[in-house]
Each structure stands twice: as structure tokens, then as C-alpha cells.
Assembly symmetry: C2
Homo-oligomer: 126 residues x 2
Amino acid sequence: MSFLDEVPWNGDGLIAAVAQDATSGRVLTVAWMNREALKQTSEKGEAVYWSRSRNKLWRKGEQSGHVQKVREVRIDCDADAILLKVDQVGGIACHTGRESCFFRKLEGGKWVTVDPVLKDPSLIYK
Amino acid sequence: MSFLDEVPWNGDGLIAAVAQDATSGRVLTVAWMNREALKQTSEKGEAVYWSRSRNKLWRKGEQSGHVQKVREVRIDCDADAILLKVDQVGGIACHTGRESCFFRKLEGGKWVTVDPVLKDPSLIYK
């Protein structure tokens, strides 16, 4: 039996996937994988997700170059989430040009942007 | 407008929530929150989730005592995931008695348990 068969894919055939920077420990992204995405991720050693908005496989970094090199793939106890430890190429995971997608923090009842833009998105997506 | 109104709750009224140990950086759990869970988490400073299996609010640690004290709440760019930085009481987040729920690693095409049980679950859930 393949490790892929042990994943109880949800009603949409997906599982949540958290990517964490292997060096800094920073949580970078939460995205989704279908069976093919997890298979390709494990084979290529680079994160491949399922884009729910575009409804297709999405090789992280295919446009931006900000590939996630996968050092480790883990699964949680009830097998409904994947954790990738990655080397984030370019040090930028977010399409806004920030290190992490989690750049807004709850402060005084408001979501406040607390992380800097490292690179102008117009220079990333040409 | 409340910060709760800025969350595009999914079809089930939920958002994925990653909990990360504030000290070690270890990703501990991925669970789900509804509006009330996120509200209570922000008010109490302790993680409250929505249990999809039990279909009710679940104050993390209510049975085990392994409460997650919340230091920081973040939200990602497209607001479909929450990140909590927590102090994990007891140093155990998983119901199996392990530090993290992500104790299985993909090795040679198999999910292999690589983390030790720190406390026998029968001693946690009496």
C-alpha cells in the first residue's frame, strides 16, 4: 500500500499542508494538496500544491521562482494535515513579497500588518 | 467591523488553525476554528477549537490539562488560515502523548513514527 492511500482525503480530495522554514522555523504558508500534489512533492523534493482558485496543480514558485525545497514531509496523528520542512528559495514565500503569508497579527482587536515587504511583487511577477 | 468579520469562513463556517510552540518553533497541531472558537481564543488567551468529530467547541486541554496559552494570533494573506504561537502546557500537544501531532515522517515511501511518547495516554485521559 502506498503512503498516499493512508491519507483520508477530504470530500474535495484534499489535505491541508503547512510549510515551515527548516532553518528559521517560521511558518510560511498553508496550502492544499491532492493526491497528485503530494506524490509529486515527495518525488521532486519541491512543494507542489493544488490551487483551489485555479483548480489545477501548482508548483510553488513556478512563476515567482520562490520554490520550496522539501527537506522533510510529516503527517499528523489523524492524517488530516501535512507538514513540510522546506528551504524557501529567495526567502520569500508570500505573493505579497513577504517572508511568510502570516504577516498580520491580532492587536487590540484588529489585524495589523507587522512584517515588511522584502521585494515589490511587481518585480517578482513580471 | 470586528476582526471576526474579516475571516472568509469556509462552507462549514470554519478556518484552519496551526499552533506553533512559541519557544521551540515546533508545529504542534492543526485544528479548526469557527467564529466562536476564534472569538473565545482571542478573549481567553487559550486555544479553543471546533471539534469536527464531536461537533462542538473544544477548549484544547479541557480533558488532558494540556492547554495552549496563546501568545500571538496571526492570519495569512488570503485569510484562510490562522497561526497561533503558544506555550504548550505539559509540553504535550498530541492525544498520543507526544509533543507534536506531526510525529510521523515520510521515509522511503512510508510514514514512520520518529518521535517518542512522552506520557502514556492512559495517564493523561483518566
